[in-house]
């Protein structure tokens, strides 16, 4: 009897505290474990970093960070953060999924967010993007900007996720110009492919030698080499994940934005206001998760016709008129 009353009181107290906390912010100790591309890849990881910086600035809460130098460090880093009571913890990149699933099971009370992968656990929030939709849009622009009708794609590691970029890009190209040709290269088959600018530059030059005049770099830090080669040869490049237009103004047609910064920021923000939820979030054009970049660095390259065409395509995708096939739905670029 006594015990029963005791547990009733504690349940009531917990409910009471819960409602109280919902109204105000809670103290959190957020942390980020970056991917092997490194925090300063000017692309994917840097996007997350920008989101974390924004949160830091607005709330004055320190964000712990870890930059692993190889894949074996993911698990250690996640576990160490969890042991230190960091919460929530963001794991950046698909490569961390396995390590995260393991650590999240060990620490069921800590909240984790994984970007670019799905981990099905109650204390994990999975954020994935419809990269095919954003890539479709930059494909439309590439097809309209190309004079030779030959367009290049250089991916990082050859995995379905990168093929998804490529496939959406190809659909966008064919939508705008059915006769255009796409030449695809992948940098490698290991995670080192995200960090090999020399090889990226050679791949891009190989494509230019075959007549390509617009190249889409979806390759993390390797992309910096690809875009450098693009500038050296006076061709047009398309950046990825973050807005990379500022890297080589005049030689950057646009960037495919993947708002990982928003994903990181929202996850921290939700945890702070005690509204953090597990489950899967799929962010496409409609949700503002992906987009194309237009700013002062590339506005001269985007003609009014191009802008009209890409905005029309965007509206059609959002309304469901155009369905962009997802490579990962059947591991093939044919629907």
């Amino acid at each position: 009897m006594k015990r029963w009353v005791g547990s009733l009181i504690s349940v009531l107290a917990a409910v009471g505290l819960g409602t109280l906390a919902q109204a105000q912010t809670v103290a959190i100790k957020p942390a980020v474990v970056f991917s092997t591309g490194g925090k300063f890849d000017k692309s994917f990881n840097e996007g997350v970093s920008q989101g974390a910086e924004r949160f830091k600035k607005e709330t004055n809460i320190a964000v712990a960070e870890f930059e692993p130098s190889n894949e074996t460090q993911f698990e250690q880093a996640l576990r160490r953060f969890a042991q230190r009571g960091q919460d929530p913890i963001i794991a950046v990149g698909f490569a961390q999924a396995v390590a995260l699933a393991k650590v999240a099971r060990e620490f069921p009370n800590i909240h984790f967010t994984v970007i670019d992968s799905v981990v099905d656990l109650p204390n994990v929030q999975s954020v994935v993007f419809k990269e095919q939709e954003g890539s479709f849009l930059v494909g439309v622009l590439a097809a309209m900007a190309s004079k030779t009708g030959k367009i290049g794609f250089v991916g990082g590691m050859d995995i379905p996720l990168v093929r998804r970029f490529q496939c959406g890009f190809e659909q966008g190209i064919k939508y705008a110009s059915p006769s255009a040709e796409l030449i695809t290269n992948m940098t490698g088959t290991t995670p080192a492919a995200w960090n090999d600018p020399g090889r990226g530059a050679e791949l891009a030059k190989g494509q230019f030698d075959r007549g390509v005049d617009v190249v889409y770099a979806a390759a993390g830090s390797t992309g910096l080499g690809i875009l450098q080669a693009t500038k050296d040869r006076g061709k047009l490049g398309i950046g990825v994940d973050s807005n990379q237009n500022h890297l080589h103004p005049g030689n950057m047609l646009t960037s495919m934005l993947k708002r990982v910064d928003l994903a990181a920021y929202n996850s921290f923000k939700a945890a702070r206001s005690n509204e953090w939820k597990g489950g899967v979030q799929v962010l496409g054009l409609k949700e503002g998760g992906v987009d194309w970049a237009l700013d002062k660095d590339n506005e001269k390259l985007i003609t009014p016709q191009m802008k009209a065409a890409v905005e029309a395509a965007k509206a059609a995708i959002i309304s469901g008129q155009i369905v962009v096939h997802d490579y990962m739905s059947n591991n093939s670029c044919k629907s």
């Binding site: 490194g38 300063f40 695809t184 020399g198 190989g206 030698d209 910096l224 450098q228 040869r233």
Partner: protein
């Protein structure tokens, strides 16, 4: 037809671009190995040089200062190798591996501390890079020509000079050189320093000519490929040069073969194409080279009799 021709020329240009660091590294390694000092640390020297080239070029705005810093950085590591292996008669392979590990760690740590970009240097532009001289499209910067000239230079020094004769002798029978009243240590130190010079140039090429900035582990095993090229070339400059070109050609073709449908075969898988250089290594070593003829005293520290 014209298209095929441009494709062939473009592939050859790419071959030279890719082979340049290999050639420089292999010529440097040759001097060292000819004198009896095995140099597994080529990779580390090149990496350290690449980092200091980019860091210096970024800070001073001059590519030439970058080249100077690259040579200096590689020479420091070369002297370290010499100190361990010549003066203290340590194990040459262990010292070389230590240098590789040191370079891998130190470049990232220094880069993170100085530039705050996770081990990368800021991107370089304009005069901070060695730009192409005659053919902007081919990317023929000065170091490509230096690499081409380094081959006849290495041949001439090793085969036609008194220094070269002694160098070969010290790599085969150091006792005889010592008996002739010539210092084994000083000869080997000079060989190791020459090696540092070329490895430094190779590193500078990677970060301020081929690319525009340093990034982590950017040598990506090229020092070891250069080492393999020396073995293919049976410790001779011209055949080693040929081996470097073969690796370069294979890499350049591999890049261009990706995603291309070949008549009768269809599309070749990326994985197979990327394995080609390694398959060639196995194939050549097993089939063509046969018994390799390393300098007899390579790897053996020389102990003076008292």
């Amino acid at each position: 037809m014209e298209e095929t021709l441009t494709l062939v020329i473009a592939t050859l240009a790419a071959t030279l671009r890719v082979a340049t660091p290999l050639v420089l590294c292999a010529m440097g390694g040759l001097f060292s190995e000819k004198s009896g000092i095995i140099d597994v640390g080529l990779e580390g020297k090149m990496l350290m040089a690449a980092f200091f080239a980019a860091a210096t070029a970024s800070l001073t705005g001059s590519a030439w200062a970058g080249v100077g810093a690259a040579i200096l950085a590689a020479e420091v590591l070369a002297l370290l190798h010499g100190f361990a292996c010549i003066t203290h008669r340590g194990n040459q392979v262990v010292s070389g591996i230590a240098i590789n590990i040191l370079a891998m760690g130190l470049t990232v740590v220094l880069g993170a501390a100085w530039f705050g970009r996770g081990g990368q240097t800021p991107p370089l532009a304009g005069t901070e890079r060695l730009n192409p001289i005659f053919f902007p499209v081919a990317g023929d910067n000065i170091l490509v020509y230096v690499a081409l000239l380094s081959v006849p230079f290495a041949w001439w020094v090793i085969d036609r000079t008194r220094f070269g004769l002694r160098l070969r002798a010290v790599g085969e029978v150091p006792l005889a050189v010592d008996a002739a009243g010539i210092s084994v240590s000083w000869l080997r130190y000079r060989a190791v320093l020459l090696c540092g010079l070329f490895a430094g140039l190779a590193g500078a090429y990677l970060s301020i000519a081929q690319n525009a900035g340093f990034s982590r582990d950017m040598t990506a095993g090229q020092g070891f490929i250069a080492l393999a090229a020396i073995i293919f070339g049976r410790w001779r400059p011209v055949p080693a040069f040929g081996a470097c070109l073969a690796f370069g050609l294979l890499d350049a073709t591999a890049i261009r073969l990706q995603g291309v449908k070949l008549p009768g075969i269809g599309e070749v898988p990326v994985q197979l194409i990327q394995a080609l250089p390694y398959l060639l290594t196995l194939f050549l070593l097993a089939g063509f080279i046969g018994r390799t003829v390393a300098p007899k005293a390579a790897g053996v520290p020389y102990e003076k009799e008292h």
